[in-house]
Symmetry: C2
Subunit: 335 residues, 2 copies
Amino acid sequence: MTRLPPLTLALALAATALPAAAQDAPAPVTPASVVAGAPASDWRAIDPADLLVMTLAPDAAGQPRVVTIQLIPPPFSQGWVGNIRTLAKAHWWDGTSVYRVVDNWVTQWGDGEDDAAKAKRLPAGLREVPESEYTADAPSTVTASGIALYYQANAGAQSPSLFNGRIVFRGQKSWDYAAYAAGFPYSGSMDPHRSLAWPIHCYASVGVARDLSPNTGSGAELYTVIGHAPRQLDRNIAVVGRVIEGIEHLSALPRGKGEAGVYSDPTLRVPIVSVRLGDELPAADQPKFEYLDTDSASFARYLEVSANRNDPFYRVPAGGIDICNAKVPIRRVKP
Amino acid sequence: MTRLPPLTLALALAATALPAAAQDAPAPVTPASVVAGAPASDWRAIDPADLLVMTLAPDAAGQPRVVTIQLIPPPFSQGWVGNIRTLAKAHWWDGTSVYRVVDNWVTQWGDGEDDAAKAKRLPAGLREVPESEYTADAPSTVTASGIALYYQANAGAQSPSLFNGRIVFRGQKSWDYAAYAAGFPYSGSMDPHRSLAWPIHCYASVGVARDLSPNTGSGAELYTVIGHAPRQLDRNIAVVGRVIEGIEHLSALPRGKGEAGVYSDPTLRVPIVSVRLGDELPAADQPKFEYLDTDSASFARYLEVSANRNDPFYRVPAGGIDICNAKVPIRRVKP
């Protein structure tokens, strides 16, 4: 197919490649080719216990709709992640719905009932998580000395760079940075007065909807990002994971026309049949995924090539990359 | 409605406000309140001659679908914009379709036929636009002295700042920046050896699909961004405008399952009934929009408030903003 902007990596992995360069030239190195060539030892299994499998009602054509969410690992947002495990084990989301869709913003699901007298009763054992848990101590593999980093790279500047063997993005201030830990992007501040880190929003991130601060939400009402990363929500809302398969079942829904993008027409609500932790499913049905180790040489090369595209479609390599455009490669493992 | 992440500005303007703060506190200043309070003199009319009105076939429920696109003003991409005017005047898009939708990437429309023997014949008078027109001389209102700017701001750093009365985003290199000209975001380099500027991709930007470089596309096949801004396409593809109304008719379509996200099921293609320049329509039907002057004090205040939210939902103001999250306010003018 011609006249097409190139595919994103995730799709390029599955799709037929674009036309190759002239046969006498070496095959171009692309983000997809780096990922395809990564040795098995650079991939890490995702524990099914860290996955949520959300089954929606079939679509109008009767096609199944399953959304798989990976919960964020420590040190981030573990209070809410714990609540989400409790909610899933209680099968609390069964019979709730996707009830809010705002273009270039979020799709949201859960009970969606404001009136406390009508709201679905929450299970026992949920924690009230304080705002202090929006941030955490920085993952220990990032150290303080000499960091000069950061995140949303721009065209022609801000390449990711290596520091102590870690890939980091330089910040405007010398103490601000972004990096990856255990396969997730995060940001942090090495300000000597407060050494904090926090998970960041990207497309398909999953977060905990809430009322006005200081409420932080229980984890029962969740949203996923379906547009440009809302950076202003970082540290203001809990990021608890990301959709790793089936985002199109949430991003391609009709936009809501009620207040705040809620479906005023209740027939548009998408019924949630069930939400299960992956390890609650029968062994044969447990989802098996791997992510490319963000500490690996393959991932370093993937970032470098992503930031400096020189395959035939491109004429000006950006020389940098936005961390939300450098998505951590994830693949389904064949059983 | 509670338990909601806050609305984006564009929607907040239309929707009921979130619950107000306690009555004894002054009403919080928000991006929406700044825009609502901007004097009439800070708004600029968009010439209907610079709008494309794309009418799609009605949706499955029989509802009309109209997408309005604003063409980018000089100095950017005028070769392609000229072609697009020629194509629209020839009614070339009538009977073509939306044929490609890739999640977190683009929705694309036009003829979509690779086989030159089968492709729809293009009208006379189209230019072959060279790659050199991906960049332009920087708009004259940005000057060189002392620029220390730039664009994708991060949490806690990279606030937009004022320079020579212009709002700019600081770059990693002292000569890279982003700013706004005539209501559109762009980026540039003040490198003394090449003082260039170029339009940038954001959500809802419209660009010219093309084959491999050095092909630049005629303008007949167009796409719009439906995900995180693909910064790597800047200077590699022509940005020719943006969708200012009706993006949901392109972003909420089913994702394509064929090669490169093309609809392999041709019944999914969305017929394009017509595409017209706004000034070709009967006077009563001409679309009337205004944008907030990006050189105005209101816009400066809008950016400052957007970068430093302190209304009750927020607990940590970001202290900066990504230029693609600082969308230029646009409003429909009542006839």
